[in-house]
Symmetry: C2
Subunit: 394 residues, 2 copies
């Protein structure tokens, strides 16, 4: 039911074009996975998401186990039916949120930008699992690898991930090593659990590769994953403190992995990062940015369409757009660009109308999908540098 | 360019089925006009509004003159183009908001539920116009009938209304009489202004009928409107304190009006009110309720689908819907009911996801359009009572 096939490899890098086949359809890779965190992409109907070229969306086991509860979603017929999305779907294990909320913020720890603080909601990590306090009604939950799999089986996504301990940046190498070892044991327990229920063919379980910034630990984690029958990998854990360090960690890790299997990069999705990741052989990316920045008025555009090089994206709150009757991007054929001007969206933002966020989200999703399509073609045509210049440089 | 034609009259009441033809298409009446107050229907793309069977939408000259400014919308090519709506459109004069915000709240004064207080934003009413302070940047604006027409010409809606003084409930009959006389003079100035620019054929100017709850004053206002070449009427001003009084005022007023011309009832749109209004010969209704209640989690359904007779609509926040996997209404074929369950919308409301309001708005708009369609058929088939029982009684 699940299959990953490489259809084209670049001769200049490890970039590759592939096809993931799932029970709910195919994903052409490299692909971007959009976040439907709490069983919806914020502010958008499934119709607009689909019509914006979306192949695959991701929901969070952590949020859904707490609200409305995975049991309810199973009774609803699974997540696909609950949210009315009939395409491929991805869920994470819940571990990442528990650890990152426990440490402070979701993204600060993979990026090493904030000092850890485990006191918030994470109570205790044992060999058994991770105990935390629900942010909904305060009850204490022990998320074990088995429970994470139960939740992800209830949700029924096509691609799921092993429960791991998401190791922060600001810990010793010994801590990272022990944590990676624990993640290996948890990965085996995760795999055993889904096999017990015969789900391994319909729900592809990705092994999370840990090991922080340490090559030997990444090597050990990768080797373990290669030696077990995971249909793919998800690169997790700390990726270092700087962009350069992140690219280095991603590069060395993907190199260690079985080249015939599918590789996802967890939680990273800036345009520059995508180009780098693709060159390392990353097949899919997920990130909340396209819809999050949209809600703050920022449209994703090619860098030459941005006002100044220091800016990321087009901030439509800027008063320069007050009477700008052109679409966000002249070359874009998304629903928003076909129908509305920058001036209209600027007005909606000023009037605090939530439609602004929805219209920009539609554009941003369409644009990320177009970027990935450009990248797929560029890999086959061996002109990834050119395409990257087109998207990223002035 | 503008034409109103009655195609069917009930023999049991003054209910009628008609067709309004405008430059942007036809409106089958009785019809409901949805509020796109600040140049958008809150939380909905135009695509969803159109696909929900909407014939006509209304924007507010008052809000748009202040933000983004009517001049900007004229430069954008008019309101139709600005918001990407190609169907019939309605704007009000701006007067209603100035007076009602000045008095306290928009709806409290037509319904007589709140004592007037002119101190808020309304500064001065003279023969010339109404002076008020902008809630956006504090500047003082004198809205005259001529300025109101300039604004409405800039916006370019198919149906527009005369600038009137919206008389509150808690004033003397003498005040109401003087106010009504002033509204007559302002109506003539409004009509002259649009004729000066040759717009009377493309932008149908409705005369607002004033006179409060007083039959003789309503009579005078109606006679004035009948004697001048307004293509239709909009019933405004205070409609009394109780529902019974409101129906009486509407009934006596519509009776006084030229039966061949189009009649709009300003700001009223409850389902019961619509049936009463239709029997009095009202052709169109507008009200913010369908989308406003949606944002609070309430779906409009036939009364037998509601939990108890004391409730208006289906409150999807109610925990009874936690695991209710049926659509809002089994008999509804709107986008929301075809794709999503009460349980899903309940989850979105609990998780404070704005998509909940959008999905319920789609249902509510579709439902109001279906109600109006049912009413049009019922008038022709002379079974309005039966249809009212179906919609309103348990």
């Amino acid at each position: 039911m699940f299959e990953f096939r490489v259809v084209n490899r670049s001769s200049k890098s490890r970039a590759r074009v592939g096809i993931i086949s799932t029970k709910h359809g195919v994903i052409h890779t490299p692909a971007f996975i959009f976040c439907a965190t709490k069983a919806n992409v914020k502010g958008l109907t499934i119709e607009h998401i689909k019509n914006s070229g979306t192949q695959v969306i991701l929901s969070n086991a952590y949020h859904l186990m707490l609200q409305p509860g995975n049991d309810l979603i199973r009774r609803a017929g699974g997540l696909h039916r609950f949210i009315s999305w009939d395409g491929p779907m991805f869920t994470d294990s819940g571990g990442f949120q528990i650890f990152s909320l426990g440490h402070g913020s979701v993204s600060s720890e993979i990026k090493g930008t904030r000092f850890g603080d485990r006191r918030r909601t994470l109570l205790r990590v044992t060999e058994e699992g991770a105990e935390f306090r629900s942010y909904i009604e305060g009850r204490i939950v022990n998320l074990t690898p088995e429970l994470s799999m139960q939740i992800q089986m209830d949700l029924g996504a096509d691609i799921i991930v092993t429960m791991d301990e998401c190791t922060p940046y600001h810990v010793s190498k010994l801590y990272t090593a022990n944590s990676m070892e624990k993640s290996k044991r948890w990965a085996i327990r995760s795999l055993n659990e889904i096999k017990k229920y015969g789900r391994q063919d319909t729900q592809a379980l990705l092994a999370v590769i840990q090991g922080g910034i340490y090559k030997d630990l990444r090597q050990e984690s990768a080797q373990f994953a290669n030696e077990n029958d995971f249909p793919g990998f998800a690169i997790g854990g700390s990726l270092g403190k700087t962009r350069a360090e992140m690219y280095e960690v991603i590069g060395m890790t993907t190199e260690m992995l079985d080249q015939s299997r599918y590789v996802h990069l967890l939680g990273i999705g800036g345009i520059d990062d995508i180009f780098e990741g693709v060159r390392c052989g990353i097949d899919t990316f997920d990130c909340v940015a396209p819809t999050r920045v949209a809600r703050h008025g920022v449209a994703i555009v090619k860098s030459r369409e941005v006002l100044s090089r220091s800016q990321k994206g087009m901030n439509l709150r800027n008063s320069i757009y007050y009477d700008d009757f052109s679409p966000i991007s002249e070359s874009c054929s998304c629903y928003t660009c076909r129908n509305f001007s920058r001036a209209y969206i600027h007005h909606l933002l000023r009037a605090r109308e939530i439609l602004a966020g929805s219209l920009i989200s539609i554009h941003n999703i369409f644009t990320m999908n177009r970027l990935m399509s450009d990248i797929r073609i560029a890999i086959s045509e061996e002109n990834l540098d050119e395409i990257q210049n087109d998207w990223c440089k002035n």
